[in-house]
């Protein structure tokens, strides 16, 4: 795999086709589990695990899977691997398993997993497919983590509450002190929509700015002229 190809896969997963902000796939777990940073990142990591293993398995077996029954076989593979992750979490991160609960088995129904298997792993080399899964998963993790941190910080005034479930002895950061009254809406479901909406707006605004900058300069020019930044202030209006 060429560095160029790697860069493209990474850029797609982390930013351009970001699961949470670009493709808007698998929003149910994103909205439901992002009540705290630790929950959000843990579920994201579990999803990366399932995605990487599914992409690896499907792309390794892609020449043996008849086209007509590829979807049942994909689902079978994803479901089996999710069960493996579910059992492992239950065995080794029991407290976290109790918190994440139904959302680990529900990774099966997260359409981003099937989407990457069908759109990428079924046509590409195992190594490339695994990297694609990890990059897509990391894209999901940073969005989930940011969303979780926003909601936790505004809603409860803490960061990394529940970290002791993963690293024994570690404790949460109480950002606003004990007297912070909390802002319930951030933790309840509407808070998830508000926070995700703001993130998507920011994502679109940045993309619009990047696109505008790319249009303004001729492609071969290696360095962006600094003047482009000065005019950038009026652009986000178009991003809505």
């Amino acid at each position: 795999m060429s560095p160029q190809q790697f860069r493209e896969i990474a850029w797609n997963g982390l930013w351009k086709q970001n699961t949470g902000l670009g493709q808007l796939l698998g929003l149910c777990p994103i909205l439901a589990i992002s009540t705290s940073t630790v929950n959000a990142v843990s579920l994201g990591l579990a999803t990366i695990l399932v995605m990487a293993m599914s992409n690896l398995a499907v792309s390794s077996l892609r020449n043996f899977i008849p086209y007509e029954i590829r979807i049942p076989v994909f689902i079978l593979i994803i479901a089996a691997l999710t069960t493996v992750v579910d059992l492992s979490f239950n065995a080794f991160f029991h407290d976290l398993y109790l918190v994440l609960g139904i959302f680990i088995p529900l990774i099966v129904t997260n359409c981003i997993v099937l989407a990457r298997v069908e759109a990428f792993a079924a046509k590409n080399h195992p190594l490339t497919s695994t990297i694609d899964a990890v990059m897509m998963g990391l894209g999901l993790v940073w969005v989930l983590g940011l969303l979780g941190a926003m909601r936790e910080l505004i809603g409860a005034g803490t960061l990394f509450a529940g970290i002791e479930m993963i690293i024994p002895g570690a404790s949460a950061i109480n950002v606003f002190g004990d007297d912070y009254p909390g802002f319930l809406v951030a933790i309840l479901p509407p808070g998830a929509f508000f926070a995700l909406g703001m993130l998507i707006a920011a994502f679109n605004a940045i993309n619009a700015r990047l696109a505008a900058r790319a249009r303004r300069q001729p492609p071969p020019a290696p360095k962006a002229p600094q003047a482009a930044d000065g005019q950038g202030g009026t652009e986000p209006v178009a991003a809505g």
Partner: protein, 224 residues
């Protein structure tokens, strides 16, 4: 050629491939299950023991408490369908305390599950909420992990009381004329927990000896 690629042949071949995939991945799941089972069992036991330690000081008893368990089929008093688990703590063979699981069915958002530890003298040594769906930030103070007042969590007020200390009408929140506090904004959660604790304590107080005497692993009815 036509015989080789007939519909029957193709479907049989595809079906066979599907069967092979199913067998292979079922085997993967089965072996993971077999490999993780001891660890899962150990984690469950550990979590259960931690919960018991929160309501009953481990120094007070010396038996293998988690193994000394009876089931009590009393859905009316304990709120658990299919038999509530009751663990017995003993020291030197003498009864010390009961750890009883139960549930309030009248929470603001469904069931609230609890464990209650009752001493041989009928005194409560601790109450913990184990599962609930009360509103985060409002009713969830019944769980001391979510309680904002870490120094004096709401659930702590039950510790040290006995069924006889409080008259029957007193097993509710002050708003209903009872003798237990609640926090403004979420009376229903507190009321449900308080009444359930009262029911469980009363149930235990009435049959302490029977509960300690029953052989481990047996199932007791409502009348015992």
């Amino acid at each position: 050629m036509s015989a080789r690629y007939s519909a029957t042949r193709t479907s049989l071949r595809t079906g066979a491939i599907m069967v092979v995939f199913t067998l292979a991945f079922t085997a993967l799941m089965a072996s993971t299950y077999g490999l993780t089972r001891p660890a899962i069992e150990a984690s469950k036991q550990e979590a259960q023991q931690r919960l018991v330690d929160e309501v009953l000081p481990p120094a007070g008893y010396d038996n293998a408490l988690l193994d000394d368990m009876v089931r009590v089929d009393a859905p009316g008093a304990l709120g658990m369908d299919g038999g509530a688990r009751v663990w017995r703590a003993r020291k030197g063979g003498e009864p010390v305390a009961l750890v009883i699981e139960g549930a309030a069915t009248d929470g603001y958002a469904g069931r609230i599950e609890l464990v209650v530890a009752v001493g041989r003298d009928g005194r409560l040594s601790g109450v913990r909420v184990t599962a609930h769906k009360e509103t985060p930030g409002l009713g969830d103070y019944i769980d001391p992990k979510k309680d904002r007042r870490k120094d004096a969590p709401w659930i702590g007020q039950f510790t040290g009381t006995t069924w006889r200390d409080v008259d029957t009408a007193g097993w509710s929140v002050r708003k209903d004329g009872g003798s237990f506090d609640y926090r403004a904004g979420a009376t229903i959660s507190a009321r449900a927990v308080t009444r359930a604790v009262g029911r469980i304590t009363a149930f235990a107080a009435g049959r302490l000896d029977a509960l300690f005497a029953a052989p481990a692993g047996s199932v007791l009815g409502e009348e015992s």
